[in-house]
Amino acid sequence: MAELLWALGALAVGLGAGFAAGRRRPAPAQSQARTTDTHLTGIARLTGSLAPVWSAQIDTSRTQMETAVSQLTEQFAGIVENLDSVLASSAGALDDGHGGTFDRSRSRLGDVVGTLDEALATKRQTVAELRNLQTLNTELRQMSAEVSAIAAQTNLLALNASIEAARIGEAGAAFGVVADEVRQLAEHSLGTSERMAEKVGRAGTTIGGILGHAEETAEREDRAVNGANAEVQAVLDDLQALVTGARDSSSDLERAAVGIRSDVSQSLTNLQFQDRICQVLEHLRDSVTRFAETVADAARADAPPIDPDEALEAISASYTMDEERQAHASGRAADVRDSEITFF
C-alpha cells in the first residue's frame, strides 16, 4: 500500500511538472514540445502498465483475505455447531439418561423394599396369631385339668354313695347301681380328660415349637429387611451422588460451552471487517484503473488538462461506506460507525 501511494504521488508530481512545463512555454518550441509529449507518453505508458499490476496485487490480497476469513468463519461455525450438539446431548443424557435411570432405579428398589416390608408384616401377624393360639392352648390345658379334678371329685362322691347304698342294704341296692354308673362315668370322664390334657399338651408343644421358629425367622427377616433397606438407601445415596456429580460437571461444561459460544460468536461478528475491507480494496482497485485511464486520456495531444477535483469526485461517487467518504475528505483513517437499524 505504501508503494502504491508513493508511486501515485510520483505520478502526480510528474504529471504536474509535465503540464507546468507545457504551460510555461510562451511559444511552443518544437523540441520542447517533443520532450513534453515524450514525457507524457512515458508517464501514460507507465501508468497503464502499473495499473493492472496494482489491481492484480489488490485482488490477490483481497481474495486471500476473503478465502482465509471464510475458512476461519466456517471453522468457527463448526465449533459453534459442535458446542450446541455437545450441550444438547449432555442435557439429554441427564434428563433422560442418568437422571431418568436413577429415578427409575429408586422407584423399582422402593417397590422391592415395600414388598419385603409387606412380607415381614404378614410374618409378624402370623407370629401374633400363634401366640394367641398358644394362650388358647394354655387355657384348654387348664380347663382339662379342671375337668379331671371334677371327674376325680365325682368318682369320690360316687364311691361314697356306693358305700352308703351297701350299708342301707336291700333298700339301697338300686341306688348302689346308680352310684356305680356315676363312678364309671367319672372314671371315663377322667380318662377322657387325661387324654385331652395329653393332646392339648402335645398341641401346645407343637405350637410352641412353631412359634419359636416363627419368632426366630421373623427376627432374622426383620434384620435382613432392615439391612436390605439400609443397603438400598446406601446404593441410592451413591447413585444420587454420582448423578449430582454428573449434573454438576454437566453444568460446568454447559457454562464453559456457553462462554466459548459467546466468544466465538463475538469473534465472528468482529470478522465482518473482512467484508468492509474487501469493498474498500475493490473500490481502490477501480480507482487505480480509472486513474490509469485518466492519465492515458490526458496523454492524447488533443486532450483537455486533467481536472483533479473532477477525478476525485468521480472516485468519491463510487464509495458505499461512510468511512470511505470520511477518509477521502479528511485524508486520515476513519472510524467504523456502529450498526444502525431503520424500519420502513
Binding site: 471464510s70 468463519t73 461478528t269 470478522l271 467484508d275 460507525r337 431503520t342
Partner: protein, 122 residues
C-alpha cells in the same frame, strides 16, 4: 420446525455470521451467494423472511428484492437489507422495492435477532 430465513450475501463469512445467530435462535437458514442464486433458492420453498446484502455481483440486492416481490408466494415476505451501504438514495430504493428494514454492517447478532423477531415470530 422453525421458520426458514434466506440469507443472501456475496461474502461467505457474513452469511455464516448471520446463519449462526439465526440458528442459535431456532430459525432454519438457507443461503444465497448473490441475487441470481437467491432467486433460484426461492423456487419451491417456503421462506418466511429474507435478509439480503445490497451490493453484490451478478444481481444486486435491490434488484433481487424487486424480482422476488413479483413472485406471488413472496409478495408479502418481509425483507431486511443488511449492508455496508450508507447512501440514503439506496435506502429509498430498497424501501420502494418492498424492504421492511435496513441494517448496516457490522451488525451485532442481538440487533439482527431483534429486527427479525419484530418482523416474524420465532
Amino acid at each position: 420446525m422453525g421458520k426458514t430465513i434466506l440469507v443472501v450475501d456475496d461474502s461467505a463469512s457474513v452469511r455464516q455470521v448471520v446463519s449462526i445467530a439465526l440458528k442459535g435462535a431456532g430459525y432454519d437458514v438457507i443461503q444465497g451467494s448473490d441475487g441470481k442464486d437467491a432467486l433460484k433458492q426461492l423456487d419451491g420453498r417456503r421462506i418466511h423472511l429474507i435478509i439480503s446484502d445490497v451490493n453484490m455481483p451478478n444481481m444486486d440486492g435491490i434488484t433481487f428484492v424487486t424480482e422476488a416481490k413479483k413472485l406471488p408466494a413472496y409478495k408479502f415476505t418481509p425483507v431486511i437489507m443488511l449492508t455496508t451501504e450508507s447512501q440514503e438514495e439506496k435506502k429509498r430504493q430498497a424501501q420502494a422495492a418492498g424492504a421492511k428494514a435496513w441494517v448496516t454492517k457490522p451488525f451485532q447478532p442481538d440487533q439482527m435477532l431483534a429486527a427479525v423477531s419484530k418482523l416474524i415470530a420465532p
